[in-house]
């Protein structure tokens, strides 16, 4: 995210934008430290809000949706953990997404993510306020962080969950996740220690449906750590071309496999993606062959995706690939081999040559949707939502075109 993008977000001291305040009926401050009585009984469901320079990862709001369900069953509250510096806008968004409590640590040391200071902060919060459950997005950041926190708290952590619910009898959290490359699913419990911790796969849970007005208490806590005590220093973030592709958030993915025959074979896929405002993905075979970068890889060892439409072009459908895309809303398979396993999971299959079928699709979509596409059901509002997390209506978000088709569609 560039510096320019930050200008949209309120800085410290600014009141949250009016539109957010409308949703978060009362943002009451409970800090500073010490004024909130420490709890002894584990109780609430916490969500770690992952933010990068004020931009919140979608998975954090997806977790808020799930946290509401769990909290209703447990008859408890939702606490959002917000770490950062000058992140009032994130606090407001957490409130708008359903947080009853926001635990805020605002300190320059945690402005950007580093393993130890973040873990230190959450361990201290958890030791003081005793949550029942902590949910963290299974991003690289989340998995890096949650492992340290669970080890420090000497509790169980279940990785990369795709399902969470409460056992009605024991009230334990049932955590379901794929294992053995997606060949089996396992339900895991942590009955005797608290908090129960999960990292949750992005794109699996639904975001909160309605943003209802409710009260949120903000509890400010000190970090208790100075920069001198942090050994790790981030030097820079390199945005190498094509390495920071974020397939997980794409609404339409046109994906290619071995059937493309090489990097050049992806050209028609890029053209279809451009017309639909989608992104191009690939199977592991294409990465192993050096045709595509790993950032484009869909599957168990790549990115898990859940777009509205997934076009699998010349992909046979190995189980590891299926594990990463089979929760797409609609799957279209195009393959010359009628026996390819991909057809078993496809809603629509065309047995044929992708080099004939895909350009034909591009031509028809182009005619029907207008020259530049933009008819793929992706409205400007949705693009903004992608960019800023959940933005209630009326909030201006100027520089919101990071993921539009223009930037993505880049036939080599």
């Amino acid at each position: 995210m560039s510096k320019q993008d930050l200008t949209n977000l309120p800085s410290a001291g600014d009141a949250p934008p009016a539109a957010w305040q409308a949703y978060s009926k009362g943002l009451t401050e409970a800090g500073p430290a010490g004024s909130e009585p420490a709890r002894t009984e584990p109780k609430d469901v916490w969500v770690f809000v992952e933010q990068h320079g004020g931009k919140v990862a979608n998975v954090s709001w997806e977790l808020m949706g799930k946290a509401r369900e769990l909290a209703d069953q447990l008859e408890c509250k939702i606490g959002a953990i917000v770490l950062g510096h000058k992140v009032d806008s994130v606090v407001a968004m957490a409130s708008a997404n359903g947080a009853d409590l926001v635990y805020l640590i605002d300190d320059p040391v945690v402005a950007a993510y580093r393993s130890k200071p973040y873990a230190h902060a959450i361990v201290n919060l958890a030791n003081k306020f005793k949550p029942e459950v902590i949910l963290v997005g299974a991003t690289s950041l989340g998995r890096d962080l949650a492992s340290i926190v669970a080890t420090e708290l000497d509790t169980g952590l279940t990785a990369d969950c795709t399902g969470l619910d409460i056992d009605p009898e024991t009230k334990n959290l049932r955590q379901t996740r794929p294992a053995f490359g997606g060949n089996i699913m396992a339900t895991i419990v942590c009955p005797n220690r608290r908090p129960q911790m999960s990292t949750v796969r992005p794109g699996v849970m639904a975001k909160p449906k309605k943003l209802e007005a409710h009260d949120t208490r903000v509890i400010r806590e000190p970090l208790g750590l100075t920069e001198e005590r942090v050994a790790a220093k981030v030097i820079e973030l390199l945005k190498e071309q094509d390495e920071s592709v974020n397939l997980a958030d794409a609404e339409i993915i046109v994906s290619g496999g071995r059937g493309t025959g090489g990097a050049d074979g992806f050209k028609p896929l890029y053209e279809l993606a451009e017309v639909l405002g989608g992104m191009v993905g690939c199977s592991r075979a294409c990465v192993d062959a050096g045709w595509m970068p790993v950032s484009r890889q869909v599957g168990q060892t790549g990115t898990t995706v859940r777009p509205k439409i997934y076009f699998a072009c010349g992909i046979s459908g190995a189980i590891q690939h299926l594990a990463g895309m089979q929760s797409s809303d609609v799957i279209v398979a195009i393959n010359r081999d009628p026996n390819a396993p991909i057809f078993k999971v496809a809603d629509y299959g065309i047995v044929g040559d992708l080099f004939q079928v895909v350009p034909a699709l591009t031509k028809i979509f182009r005619e029907r949707l207008g020259r530049n596409g933009a008819g793929a059901g992706i409205s400007a509002a949705e693009i903004k939502k992608d960019f800023l997390g959940e933005v209630p209506p009326g909030v201006p978000a100027k520089s919101a075109d990071a993921k539009t088709s223009g930037e993505e569609a880049r036939p080599q």
Binding site: S140, D144, L157, A232, E236, I309, V330
Partner: protein, 276 residues
Amino acid sequence: MHSVVLIKQVPDTTEVRMDPKTGTLIRTGVPSIVNPYDVHALEEALALRDKYGGRVTVVTMGPPQAKEALRKCISFGADEAILLTDRAFAGSDTLSTSYILTQAVKKISEQHPVDLVLAGKQAIDGDTAQVGPGVATRLGFEQLTYVVKVEGVDLEKKEITVHRLLEEGREVIKTKLPALLTVVKEANSIRYGSLPHVMRAVRYDPPGWNQAFIGGDLTKMGLKGSPTNVKRIFPPPTRAPGEIIPGGKEDPAAAAALLVDKLTARGAVGGKGAAQ
């Protein structure tokens, strides 16, 4: 510089299936391999030894059959490979596995102080990515996950600079040694074992360390030390069967048109007009 590489012997997950009737894993005939990410961690350790000198020790926890995985590591050129094996370790989840491995690294450090611990970013059977960070936390080492490149090591200043492969890009980060790195597969390409190393591997018998040897708190190991347990396993959900649109070979344009009609009717694509 002394690097310890943590490896895991895993079933080749492409071969594992579940018996839908009995609800158990079918593992007969499934080959065991060294977790592929761990091989990249080993390669990184060997490359660092090539550059800075020192030694590479490989450790795994598992049954006696895991010696085969350790021999494989010797064939790539590791100096020593240790098997942690004891009934007390059985049934460990990630929390207790990280405890046992930490005890082992401490034991290894008594002989040769450890500067760096490396592991794959995750294992392909469990895919948790939790054991590496758990060991780093327990050892009090700096933690560097998803390492795609080791930029350099300053042995005098005890500093290391690496690139981490993240969703947002490559993070360049510098920190103090000792550190623990988890390595992604883009970090390097695996070397071929040289003939002398392969010959040595054939005869190599990895030392087996048990609980009594590495010490530590028994209540933190194995089933007893594991807060999580598996309640049930089941096959992944399957999607409802779809339809094949005919004519893909004979008339691709017509098949494509039919597909677009179906997608539009479904409201999956085509904007407001088409949505129900």
